[in-house]
């Protein structure tokens, strides 16, 4: 290629830059903002001030979408994150409102049987469960799990977490037969990935499994320990962490 053509190539490339800027400004700004909020939300030690800042960021993301006249599921992503920030801020009324809004948003953009609707439904169920509303939580898990399980598979860490939330809720209602069925099928996968979960979830799950064992519905874990101890030991060993890292998507 002669230098003249190289110049033309370089000029054409630079002429495209304003167009890339024009096309990419809103989606990139939105994605960077949301990725930052979501990675911050993974931290356990967020202060109320930081949480309020995150909420502000989410409000700005809303403004971005409104200005760009976007009408897709990105709105629901904002509402879901707002719900989680409100949950951290212990504003439970607002959290519930936002969870419902996010659910409606995903239903109307992805369809009622979609993965995101299932996933948000399960997260909403976890919120309800924390507030002691086991009946409502159970119905959320039951409606959300098929889409989650169908999409991620039965051994995915999120599926397992919700399955054992459901086990705990079923134990609360004394529906031990159903709880046993799930627990018997899935406990090996839970133990194999215990390093991915937080201690309080495993404690809660362990207690539910121990209740099943005491009721002679489920055998105790191998090794003679209680379920609570077994799960905690597996968590401390970091089981499943390496596997999760290597299979993690971009």
């Amino acid at each position: 290629m002669s230098d003249r053509w190289v110049w033309i190539y370089i000029v054409v490339c630079f002429l495209q830059l304003p167009l890339y800027f024009h096309f990419g400004r809103t989606p990139l700004d939105f994605d960077f903002r949301m990725d930052r909020v979501e990675s911050e939300l993974l931290r356990q030690d967020l202060t109320d001030e930081e949480l309020t800042e995150l909420f502000e960021d989410l409000n700005e993301a809303e403004t971005l979408l409104r200005e760009a006249q976007v009408h897709d599921s990105r709105w629901a992503r904002i509402w879901l994150n707002q719900a989680i920030v409100s949950w951290h801020l212990k504003d439970f009324e607002q959290t519930e409102k936002l969870f419902r809004k996010a659910l409606k948003g995903f239903e109307s953009t992805h369809g009622a049987d979609s993965f995101y609707v299932g996933g948000v439904s399960c997260r909403y169920g976890e919120f309800l469960m924390q507030g002691g509303r086991y009946g409502e939580a159970l119905s959320r898990f039951e409606s959300g799990l098929p889409a989650v399980q169908g999409s991620l598979g039965p051994d995915d860490p999120f599926t397992l977490r919700i399955l054992f939330r459901k086990v705990a809720a079923l134990v609360q209602f004394g529906r031990l037969g159903e709880a046993e069925e799930i627990a018997r099928e899935s406990w090996p996968s839970l133990v194999a990935q215990a390093g991915l979960y937080d201690a309080s979830f495993l404690q809660w799950t362990g207690q539910a499994l121990d209740s099943l064992t005491r009721a002679r519905k489920l055998q105790g874990p191998p090794g003679g320990m209680s379920w609570v101890e077994t799960l905690e030991e597996a968590r401390q060993q970091g089981r499943g962490v390496e596997e999760a890292k290597r299979t993690a998507g971009p």
Partner: protein
């Protein structure tokens, strides 16, 4: 150094070389060979080892005939590639295919700069493809080959942007070849003009070697990235990756392999791990070295084995064709000896110029950016991976050499069952390839229905992408099966899904999902019941 001295002894003292024919001299000078140039400027005496500056070795002329042989071979492959684009037109490039291009342009906003636009009619899109094919023909026959390469390159880049969601290494290899055709010193030999003029006389023509060596650097980046990144994949290091790859729905031999074949496939796995990063070192071997031929044989076997068992033919044939340039000295010797030019070679042979200084600088910048774009997951350097990749994309030369190291994430088994239940009639099944083609692109399309999306779709727009692909697949299926779907009935597609990994090599743990379900009447869609089609975001929610 040992080989340099040995080579010097073999080729004789420098003063003898000054008497050699110029084409023979230039034969012996090259990055690949030892320092044996008779024209070395700093030769201080007959018994002193000659030191040719690296830059001169990098620039040393090569046979223009061999470079054009490479051009013709690549041109023919690019013509075949355009043939495939025409064949796949209705599935991907047209409005009737799997992709909703309006949504596609929103999800991948950076693909909007393309010759094809959403409202463009099919005849326009076919005309664009036709211009690209014409460019490929011009390149092959040597009629304004650079213009032909530029036309084909612009069209290919546009098509790749238009169908970005289903683009893979086959496509980027074609972009790579066309990009290099813009710079390589092509078009002097083996053209339609010289065919009748006695092309045997062309064997002595030399071409500037800079861009050929720069192409070798590109090969290095290619193989080192493809080879070394596999070593951090656990399926590759466990020796299972080849088995898993061959079990993927995209593999041509899918269904032939069982766990009994794992010991055999383990060797293939280890062969890949060991040899792939070593292949490019072939260029450092001197002309005619037996090891060079042995590596070339392995190189060919490796790159023939992949298209035969898995697919991805264009990427693999690109690398096989690259051997023409790798063996430019050997081929040059062969042609020089056997073709016996009718007219004696001139003492001052013609040197086909490469690009100017700016072109050389551009290529150096390209190679640096390309190397940086392959640093994903490497500590520190990894931070520049995305900007470097964006720069390549911006220049129309997006490349990705992380080949099959993604197997730990894409190790999904997928088996579709398409069942048709006509109203009042017997239920029957339709071959699932009628719904999704059994090709790499067909597999990529299905990846958007599972949590293993091929291209990174911004969250949570994956839901919109999934729905659009399902709707378009149904529409395409109805057109293809119009005859067998006469009358009324219901179609249900169930997928058996599972992860193929150490714990599930025999696929004993899978789960089933109803992927889609719809009713039809006389080949027309009546209602899509699974998945539920969304109503659209209610304004009341966000206002």
């Amino acid at each position: 150094m040992v080989s340099q001295r040995r080579s010097l002894m073999e080729t004789g003292p420098p003063e003898n070389k000054h008497q050699a024919k110029p084409d023979e001299v230039s034969n012996q000078v090259g990055l690949e060979d030892s320092v044996d140039s008779g024209s070395a400027p700093d030769a201080s005496g007959p018994n002193q080892p000659l030191r040719v500056p690296l830059w001169e070795r990098f620039n040393a002329p090569v046979s223009a005939f061999v470079v054009d042989l490479f051009r013709v071979a690549c041109g023919l492959m690019i013509i075949v590639y355009f043939g495939r684009l025409f064949l796949e037109f209705s599935d991907y490039t047209s409005q009737t295919g799997f992709l909703d291009h309006r949504l596609h342009r929103e999800l991948f906003w950076f693909t909007k700069l393309s010759l094809i636009y959403p409202e463009s009619p099919d005849w326009y899109r076919l005309a664009v493809l036709g211009i690209g094919a014409l460019g490929a023909i011009m390149l092959t026959v040597g009629w304004r080959p650079k213009v032909g390469a530029a036309l084909a390159w612009v069209v290919v880049v546009s098509i790749h942007r238009w169908n970005f969601a289903v683009i893979n290494v086959d496509d980027s290899s074609i972009t790579l070849l066309l990009w290099w055709m813009l710079f390589l010193p092509i078009g002097r030999c083996l053209t339609y003009r010289t065919w009748h003029r006695g092309w045997r006389n062309e064997v002595g023509v030399r071409a500037e070697g800079f861009f050929i060596r720069a192409f070798f650097v590109n090969l290095f980046i290619y193989y080192l990235t493809a080879g070394l990144t596999k070593t951090v994949s656990s399926l590759w290091s466990e020796g299972l990756a080849l088995y898993v790859v061959l079990k993927l729905p995209l593999a041509r031999t899918n269904g032939l392999w069982t766990i009994d074949h794992i010991p055999f496939l383990w060797f293939g796995n280890q062969f890949t791990l060991i040899f792939e990063p070593l292949f490019p070192f072939i260029i450092f071997l001197r002309k005619g070295h037996p090891l060079k031929y042995a590596i070339a044989a392995l190189w060919i076997a490796f790159h023939l084995g992949i298209p035969l068992s898995i697919g991805v033919p264009y990427a693999n044939f690109t690398l096989i064709l690259a051997l023409i340039l790798v063996f430019h000295q050997e081929l040059d010797d062969r042609f020089c000896r056997s073709l016996k030019p009718k007219t004696p070679p001139s003492m001052d042979p013609e040197i086909v110029p490469g690009g100017g200084r700016l072109a050389k600088r551009l290529i150096v910048v390209y190679l640096v950016v390309l190397a940086l774009a392959m640093t994903k997951k490497i500590p520190v350097l990894g931070a520049v991976y995305e900007p470097a990749m964006a720069t390549l994309y911006w220049g129309g030369i997006a490349q990705e050499y992380h080949l099959f190291d993604w197997i730990d994430r894409f190790n999904w088994h997928l088996e579709n069952n398409v069942s048709v239940k006509p109203t009042g009639g017997e239920e029957f099944t339709v071959d699932s390839v009628r719904l999704f083609p059994a090709t790499v692109r067909g597999f990529i399309v299905q990846s958007y229905l599972l949590p293993m999306r091929w291209m990174r779709v911004p969250r949570p727009l994956t839901g919109e992408m999934r729905n659009s692909i399902i709707e378009k697949s149904v529409a395409r299926f109805l057109v293809k099966e119009r005859e067998s779907l006469a009358g009324e009935g219901r179609v249900t597609v169930t997928s058996k899904v599972g992860r193929i990994n150490q714990e599930n090599l025999d696929l004993s743990r899978t789960w089933s999902i109803v992927l889609l379900e719809f009713s039809y009447r006389d080949g027309e869609l009546v209602e899509l019941t699974v998945p539920e089609i969304p109503t659209g975001l209610e304004a009341a929610l966000y206002e």
